[in-house]
Amino acid sequence: MERLTNRAKVMEQKPMSFMESLYLPAIFKGMAITFMHLFKKKATINYPEQQRPFSPVFRGLHVLNRDEEGRENCTACGLCAVACPAEAITMEAAERKSNEEHLYREEKYAAKYEINMLRCIFCGLCEEACPKDAIYLSETFAPSSFTRKSFIYSKDELLIPHPVNEPEKFAAAKGAREARQKN
C-alpha cells in the first residue's frame, strides 16, 4: 500500500542487552531521584496554618469604603455597575435625610448594594470606575458555599468597619490596602 505521507518512521527494535534486561540499574537510578527529593525545598505549604503573602496586585472580595469620619463614600452613581463586564453589581439609591449626615457623605447614598460573587470575575474595573473611592478589592477570598444565595453579597457584608468606633478593625482592613497602594 502506498503511504499517504513520507513522515512515517520505521521503528527499530533491537533486542535488549544483558544489563538492560536485568532492569535493576534503571530501578535504582529512579529510586535515587525520588530519594533526592526528600532533601529538596518543599513546593507546598501547610495551608491553613501557614499562608502565603498576597501579591501587591491581588484582587479579592470587594469592600465598600468609609471616609475618616465613618460616613459611607458610595453615592450609588452606578459607574461601577456600568463598568462591570460581568454585570454583577446592582444598587438602589436613596436620598439622605436631614438627620443622616453622619452616616452618608453625599446627598444620595446606596440604600441597597449587591454584588453577585458568582458572576464577578474580580477584574477590578469597578474600583477604577469609582469616582468616590468607595469600592475597592481587598485581600480576601469568597468562602465556598452550597447555596447561590450566599454568594450575593449585600451592604452588610461589603461595608468596611467603622473607623471611629472600631479603629483597629478599620486599620486592619485599610492597612493591606494602603500597603498595596505604596507598592
Binding site: C77, L79, E139, T140, F141, P143, S145, R148, E157, K169
Partner: protein
C-alpha cells in the same frame, strides 16, 4: 409669498445652500456631523433663545461675497445670520477651539461637578461638552457659588448650583404657558433661577422646562434618584392626550416605567412638547401604546447599560441531593476581617 433667496455659505470647507435669514448654526446643522458647533443656550424651538452661553463661537474668515473682510472677533453662530459667500471656520480653526475650551472652563467654574449624584448625568450637555473640551482640573481657587434650595412644587426639583443660566426654561415658560412665575433674579454672580416668593410651578406644560434644561438644574422629582439614566431603556410610545401630542419616550427598567420625557432629536431638542399629565402621572405601561425602542447612539452611555431585571437565583442543592440540606455553609465573616459583619455599627 415672495421667493426666499438662497445663498451659499461655506462652513469648514463644506458649501451648503441655505435660505436667506438662516443663522450660521442652523446652516451647520443642515450639513450635520462634526462641523456643528455645540449649543448650550440656543434652542431652535424657542424664539429668542441663544447668544448667552458662547459655546457656539465660530470664526468668520470671509464676511460675504460683497465684503470679503473677515470678522475681527469670533461670533456666536446661533445669533449671526449667514451672508452670500460667507466662509466660516469651526473645527478647522485653532482660535475657535481655544475659545471654546475657555468658555467650557468658565461654564464649569461654578458648576459643582456632582455628576455621581445628578440625575441628568448620562444625558447632560454640559457633561458632553466638558468631556470634549474640558480641562482635567480647575484653575479656580475661590469658593464656588452655592444657593439655597428653592421648592418648585411636587414635580420639579431645582438645583440652582448646577445652573448655567441659559434662560431656556424662562423662554419655555414664556412661550408655552400663559403666565410665567419663575425667572432669573439678581445680577452677575448672584443671578439665579427662582420664583421670588416660594411658589410651585404648576402650569400644565411647565414640565417641559426639565427637558430643555441642558444641565441637571431642573430635574424630574418623580424620577429623583430612582435610577441612573444608562440603566433605563428608552422606548417610544404614544397615547391619546387631550392637551398635547401624546408622543413621548418612556424610560423603562424591565416593565417598570421610571420616567417619561418628550422625544428628542439628534441635537437633544424636544420634538414636540408634552403635558404634565403625560410626563408625571402616566407611569405604567398600560397607559401607553409602545411603538418600539428609541434610537440611541452607540457612543452614548445610555446604550451601555445591559442590566435588564433582577433574577433571583434558584437553589439547586437540595434538589440534586435527594432533599438533603448542605452540612457546612461557610460565612464570609468567619474568614474575613475586612468584611466583618460585627463591625457594622449604627452610631
Amino acid at each position: 409669498m415672495a421667493e426666499v433667496k438662497h445663498i451659499k455659505v461655506t462652513i469648514d470647507n463644506i458649501t451648503v445652500e441655505v435660505p436667506q435669514g438662516t443663522t450660521i448654526l442652523q446652516a451647520a446643522r443642515m450639513i450635520g456631523g462634526d462641523v456643528v458647533p455645540p449649543a448650550m443656550c440656543y434652542y431652535s424651538k424657542l424664539e429668542g433663545s441663544g447668544g448667552k452661553c458662547r459655546t457656539c463661537l465660530v470664526e468668520v474668515a470671509k464676511g460675504s461675497e460683497a465684503d470679503p473682510r473677515p470678522m475681527p472677533k469670533l461670533v456666536a453662530s446661533c445669533r449671526t445670520g449667514v451672508m452670500d459667500g460667507m466662509e466660516v471656520r469651526n473645527i478647522t480653526s485653532d482660535r475657535v477651539k481655544d475659545a471654546r475650551n475657555g468658555v467650557v472652563e468658565f461654564l464649569l467654574l461654578n458648576h459643582p461637578l456632582d455628576c455621581p449624584i445628578c440625575d441628568q448625568a448620562g444625558e447632560c450637555h454640559l457633561q458632553d461638552l466638558g468631556y470634549e473640551h474640558g480641562k482635567e482640573a480647575t484653575r479656580y481657587e475661590f469658593k464656588r457659588r452655592t444657593f439655597e434650595k428653592h421648592d418648585l412644587g411636587p414635580y420639579i426639583q431645582l438645583h440652582m448650583t448646577r445652573c448655567i443660566l441659559c434662560y431656556r426654561c424662562v423662554y419655555t415658560a414664556d412661550q408655552l404657558t400663559e403666565k410665567r412665575v419663575h425667572g432669573v433674579l439678581s445680577r452677575g454672580d448672584h443671578a439665579e433661577i427662582a420664583t421670588y416668593i416660594e411658589k410651585s410651578l404648576d402650569n400644565n406644560f411647565i414640565g417641559n422646562v426639565i427637558d430643555v434644561c441642558p444641565v441637571g438644574a431642573l430635574t424630574d422629582k418623580t424620577f429623583r434618584f430612582k435610577n441612573r439614566v444608562w440603566f433605563t431603556k428608552p422606548v417610544l410610545a404614544h397615547r391619546e392626550c387631550k392637551s398635547c401630542c401624546g408622543k413621548v419616550t418612556l424610560w423603562q427598567r424591565g416593565d417598570q416605567v421610571l420616567r417619561v420625557t418628550a422625544r428628542k432629536d439628534q441635537w437633544g431638542e424636544v420634538e414636540e412638547w408634552i403635558c404634565n399629565e403625560c410626563r408625571f402621572d402616566k407611569k405604567s405601561t398600560s397607559d401607553w401604546t409602545i411603538e418600539g425602542p428609541a434610537q440611541v447612539s452607540r457612543h452614548s452611555v445610555i446604550s451601555q447599560g445591559h442590566y435588564e431585571k433582577l433574577v433571583q437565583p434558584k437553589e439547586t442543592f437540595t434538589a440534586v441531593h435527594d432533599g438533603r440540606q448542605p452540612q457546612l455553609l461557610m460565612d464570609i465573616h468567619s474568614v474575613s476581617e475586612v468584611n466583618d459583619k460585627t463591625a457594622k455599627t449604627k452610631s
